[in-house]
């Protein structure tokens, strides 16, 4: 299945093809979870904050569907 991923903050720095609006298109096996996507992108857990699908926050074990639009954020600090 194809997943559209938009990375925020400095997460996108490792992905030269990342488009600011459309992000990246990633091909994953059917039934993959959010955790599988994060592993596929090789994003260390320490750099991972919120993940949302279609504007709703999801957990690591949430199953993804074909054409899902996933947004991946970094941890934040400071005010």
């Amino acid at each position: 299945m194809k997943i559209q991923v938009i990375l925020f903050g400095t997460l996108r720095n490792g992905f030269p093809d990342h488009d600011p609006v459309h992000g990246l298109e990633v091909e994953l096996a059917d039934g993959s979870s959010v955790a599988d996507l994060v592993d596929h992108l090789e994003i260390p857990r320490t750099r991972l904050g919120v993940v949302s699908v279609g504007g709703v926050l999801v957990k690591a074990d949430t199953r993804l569907k074909d054409r899902d639009r996933v947004r991946v954020f970094q941890p934040i600090a400071g005010g």
Partner: protein, 575 residues
């Protein structure tokens, strides 16, 4: 180590050694304790009985990075309580290098008279007639003052809003490039400066009278270790330089805590158009600066220079809270309009947060349409023009609410909340409600502790643990604001070794032992002084509450309300 006191009644300046009670204090500890001791709590904030106190942090001017932080304190015309407003730029380092521990402005010049206070390279001060500068906006004023006195000065000043003595007026100060774009925004202290007849403070740069360090080698060793931590941390070493605080737009919107259209929703559907990522891409494409040094001694460079389509300077620095107040909060997705509004607020001398929220309340009351950025520009221009509506707006959101008889006004103790809705981050409900400053995010920022996804351990929809988290953070921040370390350089003290370095530096400056208990005691002493002042000014526990909209109106799309009870709020200051 001296106190410089300016008596505006008689235009007399006196200098004395730092009195014993204030030795080893700086920043917010100094301003708040002095105001609690010397300003009548029931007095008129715009009367001669109020005092306006400028104090660099205890570590300002030392070799430690990111310590050019100035605390400005007074009784606030916005809240009616005590106020410390904190600002960067270069002036704190410059005052500290002239050996000025506090600058205290008392009394008021005779009506119609206007002065500039100039402090020269020897630390000697004089008042100069400023009649010719009356009414000037800050950018034009700074240009004229640099022509008159030379470029090597930090300039701290007010614009027309401060001269009109409006309750949302800021005190602006110059950044590392000499632009008056750094704001002590909160609490209306620009109005206090205006009431004294003081238009600007001009401070010579490059002084050599910095306080001596009791253990210089020990200090430098700890300062080096601290700087290494700040550089190595991804947040302060990479994220902030690249995106600035605007990096928060997308994640806070994603968690449904980005107050939109006067906090009628927690998500702005066009947040991506005004996000940090979009801002950085826009600035880069136009040839502006995404990474920019705004403050003396800064190694983070979270500032930026926003430019227009032809590459011309618009403003510095466009930040998260302003993008929210002039963007999502008024339903405006036009980043250029937000940047223009940021510049106008700096130029007229207005707090961007209070002004944006005041515009939002007016729009919510039906005065103009949400989303109309150009209408917001016209409204803010009215403040400078001195129209009746401009004065209503310039007095802040509560003033606008009274004018339109509109009760959806997100203020606490008269001061607006910031860019985190307390219904979906309950910890911020406690900080907004209980901080002696009124609605304030920096007084106790517990956003990270509330978001499990960001490493927090608290349930952001539950009351459990929120009072304790806010209390501890408020105590900690009161200490941080007193030593003068930049909020964003706190990545250097986030680990046990990091905070030890701060204790070592305080001890190495003062020559007295300093540890974790002393840090808590310092923070507590500040909060106790502030709380005591507010009690004498007439505040009760009923003032430690949020407006009813936060308890009664569920916030879409998560449909949460604030669940912290009055009894729990009252436990915040059980110390």
């Amino acid at each position: 180590m001296k106190f410089l006191t300016v008596d505006m009644n008689r235009q007399k300046i006196s200098v004395r050694d730092v009195p014993e009670d204030y030795v080893a204090l700086g920043g917010r500890a100094l301003t708040s304790i002095l105001i609690n001791n010397e300003v009548p709590a029931s007095g008129d904030p715009l009367g001669p009985e109020n005092k306006l106190v400028f104090a660099p942090g205890y570590l300002s001017g030392t070799p430690l990075i990111n310590t050019s932080r100035l605390s400005i304190g007074a009784k606030s015309p916005l809240t009616g309580g005590i106020k410390e407003s904190n600002v960067g730029g270069t002036v704190a380092a410059d005052l500290a290098r002239l050996g000025v521990t506090a600058l205290i402005v008392e009394g008021a010049a005779p009506s119609g008279e206007n002065y500039i206070l100039k402090i020269d390279i020897n630390g000697d001060a004089q008042l100069i007639d400023a009649g010719q500068y009356k009414g000037l906006r800050t950018y034009a004023l700074v240009e004229k003052l640099k022509q008159a006195f030379g470029p090597k000065h930090s300039i701290t000043c007010i614009g027309p809003a401060g001269e009109y003595q409006l309750a949302a007026a800021s005190i602006q100060t110059t950044d590392a490039d000499g632009r008056p774009c750094r704001a002590a925004g909160r609490g209306g202290l620009g109005a206090v400066m205006g009431s004294k007849g003081l238009k600007a403070v001009v401070v010579a740069q490059g002084g050599k009278r910095t306080d001596s360090l009791a253990d210089e080698d020990g200090f430098k060793e700890a300062a080096r270790a601290y700087a290494q931590e700040v550089r190595a941390n991804e947040f302060s070493g990479q994220l902030l330089p690249e995106l600035g605080t605007a990096l928060l737009v997308e994640p806070i919107n994603a968690v449904g805590a980005f107050p939109t259209r006067n906090a009628r929703s927690g998500q702005f559907e066009n947040a991506t158009k005004i996000s940090g990522e979009t801002m950085a891409a826009t600035i880069k494409q136009r040839g502006g600066k995404t990474t920019h040094k705004g403050c003396a001694g800064c190694i983070i460079n979270c500032s930026n220079e926003y430019v227009d389509e032809s590459g011309g300077y618009v403003t510095s620095s466009l930040e998260y809270e302003t993008i929210w107040a002039m963007g999502g909060m008024i339903g405006n997705d036009d980043l250029d309009a937000i940047a223009r509004l940021d510049f106008l607020c700096d130029d007229i001398g207005l707090d961007t947060i209070s002004t944006g929220v005041a515009v939002a309340v007016a729009m919510d009351a039906g005065y103009r349409e949400f989303g109309d950025g150009q209408a917001a520009v016209a409204m803010v221009e009215e403040v400078a023009a001195g129209t009746d509506f401009g004065k209503i707006l310039g007095n802040g959101p509560a003033s606008v609410g009274r004018h339109f008889n509109h009760d959806r006004v997100p203020v606490i103790k008269g001061q607006s909340m910031a860019a985190y809705d307390p219904r979906t981050i309950q910890g911020m409900a406690v900080t907004y409600a209980t901080s002696p400053m009124g609605g304030d995010h920096t007084a106790g920022w517990v956003v990270d502790q509330n978001l499990k996804e960001f490493g927090g351990t608290l349930d952001r929809f539950s009351a459990e643990g929120q009072v304790e988290a806010s209390r501890n953070t408020q105590i900690h921040m009161a200490a941080v604001d007193s030593v003068g370390i930049c909020d964003f350089a706190q990545t250097g003290l986030a680990t046990p070794e990091g905070i030890q370095n701060v204790y070592k530096m305080i001890a190495a400056k003062s020559g007295q032992p300093f540890g974790g208990d002393d840090w808590s005691k310092l923070g507590l002493s500040v909060l106790k002084a502030e709380r005591a002042f507010n009690r004498r000014a007439g505040f009760t526990s009923k003032d430690d509450r949020l407006p009813k909209m936060f308890y009664e109106e569920p916030l879409p799309p998560l449909n949460k309300v604030v669940v912290i009870s009055a009894e729990e709020m009252d436990k915040t200051f059980d110390f």
